[in-house]
């Protein structure tokens, strides 16, 4: 039969081929439809929530016009301008990270330290950082090769123990000093040291010391000015050190190294300025703004279960941040350590190998265990076995820590596994020990993946509700937790409680608004993860 067909017949499309192609196209259409259904339903959901929280339809059209003029149009124009200029985009990205990262850092630092008492935090920070600094200083001064590495984590733990012992006797006398001095020590001093170190590594020691001195002097100047103006110096000092200093440093750095892109520094200020200008215009001209539930009251005040417009979730925001922060301190070292052992040290064969395999399989399973069950585990462990008080921060953080532990382990293992074996072989072949190979080659390569995975675990933890209900964290509380052993409070719990409020404006206004706050917290974490991944993930 082959002899009867000409070549051109063979190259044409047969019916079989056409059907094959049609099948392929149908499959593609089905895939696109599935994707769209998913995305569209999520979008509708978010639109609904933000509509309820923000209520844009209650605003006058002038309000929209004002913000269009001050915020949307300038931002769009700036984006268009920067789009084709890579240098501008680089500077812009850096400025964005510094400005908004700085604002966020200021907010988080201030609210957390304020809730936990600046004197206690200062004492703990001081005693936890002094021993490792001493160890490092000793290491520097001796010429001989010393093996101080393992001493550093040990010294930190010892320092924390000492702090716990002396906190009681010291915090009394320390209370004589003004609060802002504690903030100066907690935020300005590290900022000054960081700037000094960064500058010194690029410009030499002299300049570094001067730069650090300038930051410290600036902090003092801010304090003096605030006191002269009759306001508490604490917040200004935090904002100066965690926002103004990084912003200033990045601006200086961009102007120095990237002169053609320096316009990009303006990016975040276009947005900030637009918001502020819009707000002041709306205020001056008496323009009718939306009757939104997403107000400063919601973010900065504490709860009011009777009047929706007075209800705020400040204690809950701070509570969630403290719980998740302490959880990270508990779960990350354990999880990352376990992953490194399982991936890099545990043998593949023999009894210990089989044990490791068994562990790995079970850890993967634990990642899927329902969070209610972790709540029960937390209840049994912290309340029954250890006899901790009901619903305190430590129990909440510990329970959530157990919940994310498998996620941290699995994602860290994945990151370690993605480091090519060639690199390990290369390092061993150079006569490196296992620890040297791990520290010099494997871990640096695995950091971006590990950080991404762990931050995503944080984002998961901040929204968890069920385990907190089980360990009996109070649903409504009027002040943030004042310590690790004081009673906890968390944003998702407050949302859960308010959703049962009899008044509809709570159910349809405050709840969605608080949900938006929770989503923003979570998205900020994810954004951090993405920034880190993009920054380090260029090797492949």
């Amino acid at each position: 039969m082959a002899t009867e067909e000409t070549t051109s017949d063979q190259l044409g499309q047969s019916t079989a081929l056409r059907i094959q192609q049609l099948k392929g196209q149908l499959f593609e259409v089905a895939l696109v439809a599935a994707t769209l259904v998913g995305i569209v339903s999520l979008l509708v959901l978010f639109a609904q929530i933000s509509n309820d929280a923000f209520r844009p339809r209650t605003a006058s059209s002038t309000w929209f016009l004002v913000y269009f003029g001050t915020l949307v149009a300038p931002t769009a124009a700036f984006t268009l301008y920067a789009r084709r200029r890579p240098a501008v985009r680089t500077a812009n990205a850096l400025a964005f990270a510094a400005v908004f990262g700085g604002l966020l850092l200021s907010f988080v630092t201030y609210v957390v330290v304020d809730a936990l008492s600046p004197y206690d935090v200062f004492i703990y920070a001081f005693f936890a950082s002094l021993p490792p600094v001493l160890v490092l200083a000793y290491d520097r001064t001796t010429d001989e090769r010393t093996y101080t590495g393992p001493l550093i984590p040990v010294s930190i733990i010892v320092g924390v123990g000492v702090a716990a012992l002396v906190d009681g006797p010291i915090s009394g006398p320390l209370g004589v000093a003004a609060e802002w001095i504690m903030y100066f020590g907690l935020v300005t001093v590290p900022a000054a040291l960081l700037v000094a170190w960064l500058t010194a590594s690029r410009r030499g020691r002299r300049t570094g010391a001067v730069a650090g001195g300038v930051v410290a002097a600036g902090g003092l100047a801010v304090a003096v000015a605030s006191i002269a103006a009759g306001v508490d110096a604490s917040l200004p000092i935090v904002v100066f050190s965690a926002f103004a200093v990084p912003t200033g440093y990045v601006t200086w750095w961009s102007v120095k190294t990237n002169p053609e892109g320096r316009v990009g520094i303006a990016g975040p200020f276009v947005i900030l300025g637009g918001v502020l200008l819009g707000a002041s215009l709306v205020d001056r001209l008496g323009i009718e703004s939306p009757d939104s539930y997403l107000t400063p009251t919601l973010i900065l005040e504490s709860w009011d279960g009777l009047t929706a417009s007075n209800a705020g979730v400040y204690p809950q925001i701070v509570g969630s941040i403290i719980i998740v922060g302490f959880m990270a301190v508990l779960a990350f070292p354990v999880g990352i350590g376990a992953a490194i052992y399982l991936e890099e040290y545990a043998p593949d064969t023999g009894l210990r190998g089989r044990l490791a395999t068994l562990l790995e399989v079970n850890i993967s399973n634990l990642a899927g265990v329902p969070s209610v069950v972790y709540g029960l585990l937390g209840l049994a462990l912290f309340r029954r076995t250890l006899g901790f008080g009901t619903g305190i921060v430590v129990s909440a953080a510990g329970t959530l820590g157990l919940l994310i532990l498998p996620i941290v382990i699995v994602s860290t293992q994945e990151a370690l596994r993605s480091v090519p074996n060639d690199l390990r072989q290369g390092s061993y072949g150079m006569g490196a020990s296992r620890w040297q190979t791990l520290r010099e080659v494997v871990l640096p390569e695995a950091i971006p993946g590990t950080l991404t995975g762990t931050i995503l675990a944080l984002a998961r933890a901040i929204g968890e509700t069920a385990p907190l209900v089980i360990i009996a964290v109070a649903t409504t509380k009027y002040s943030p937790p004042s310590g690790l052993f004081s009673s906890a409070t968390a944003l998702p719990l407050q949302i859960f409680a308010a959703s049962a409020n009899a008044k509809p404006e709570f159910r349809h206004g405050v709840v969605p608004a608080a949900a938006v706050v929770l989503l923003v917290l979570m998205l900020l974490m994810n954004a951090t993860a993405i920034v880190i991944r993009n920054k380090y993930g260029r090797t492949n």
Partner: protein, 278 residues
């Protein structure tokens, strides 16, 4: 070299890294590595079968043979890279300077500082060119001038002129051939005595490969080079002695390269070299 004068040498070289013992003037071609009845198993499967071989100092020794005949396995036995493979079991002796490297008192980490290795696929670390070359020096706690050693090693690896202006850029930005020369520079920076190479040119284009071949010629003046190659012409061009492995992990013939390629004793070797099989 007799047993008695070689034993103390390994003591000094492995444990204290005595500088003088390195390129001691040669009376004749001394044996630096000697294997006796070397059997290697991966689980049940035997990869090397009774390999006995003496490798001369400052020679380029080529290992040739069809895929899977155990050439890489042999190479990995010399600096104990096989230790990392859990199923791998080594029987017999591998002596380096008269000391059995599988003795209990030999630290594989110290051994690998004396015997460098270059792999088939270039595997520079995702670090700067400078840090790549300095890697071995840093982990060994080298106290001298690292920059000077980096420059010297890059020059010896015939890479200096191409990278001297970009020492701080990533080693991964180089071309494949440059990456492989970077790996060679990295291997020679801590000044080992022996350099093992496992098909170092098989992932490279012919031009890059010939640069590496020239380089191997120069390296042989200072180091003992043992190279696995798939390429018969390469073995003939660059090596002083050639070992032919055939299936079953057996060393079939080992002699001067000219002898192997012009007048091999074994019919099977002649068949392999003339391309009748393999």
């Amino acid at each position: 070299m007799s047993e008695s004068d070689s034993s103390p040498k390994i003591q000094t070289t492995i444990e204290t890294g005595d500088e003088e013992s390195r390129h001691a003037p040669l009376n004749a071609r001394d044996t630096v590595i000697e294997t006796r009845d070397l059997d290697v198993y991966y689980g049940e499967e035997q990869a090397l079968d009774g390999v006995s071989m003496e490798i001369n100092e400052h020679d380029v020794t080529a290992l040739i043979g069809p895929s899977g005949c155990g050439k890489s396995t042999f190479l990995r036995c010399i600096n104990r890279m096989n230790d990392m493979i859990e199923v791998c079991r080594v029987e017999g002796d591998v002596e380096f300077g008269g000391k059995n490297v599988y003795d209990d008192d030999v630290d594989p980490v110290a051994l690998r500082r004396k015997i460098g290795i270059v792999f088939q696929k270039p595997n520079p670390f995702p670090k700067s060119i400078r840090d790549n070359v300095a890697y071995g020096l840093k982990i060994q706690g080298y106290e001298g001038d690292i920059d000077e050693r980096v420059e010297e090693s890059l020059k010896r690896a015939a890479l200096w002129d191409e990278v001297k202006d970009q020492l701080d850029s990533s080693g991964l930005d180089l071309s494949g051939g440059q990456q492989q020369r970077l790996c060679i520079a990295r291997a020679i920076a801590p000044d080992p005595e022996v350099i093992l190479m496992d098909e170092p040119t098989s992932a490279l284009d012919p031009v890059a490969a010939s640069k590496i071949e020239d380089l191997i010629d120069d390296l042989a003046e200072e180091y003992t080079v043992i190279i696995v190659t798939h390429n018969m012409q390469q073995a003939a061009r660059i090596s002083d002695r050639t070992a032919v492995f055939l299936t079953g992990g057996r060393l079939v013939e080992y002699d001067d390269t000219t002898k192997i390629f012009e007048d091999p004793e074994e019919q099977r070797v002649e068949d392999y070299i003339t391309g009748k099989f393999g």
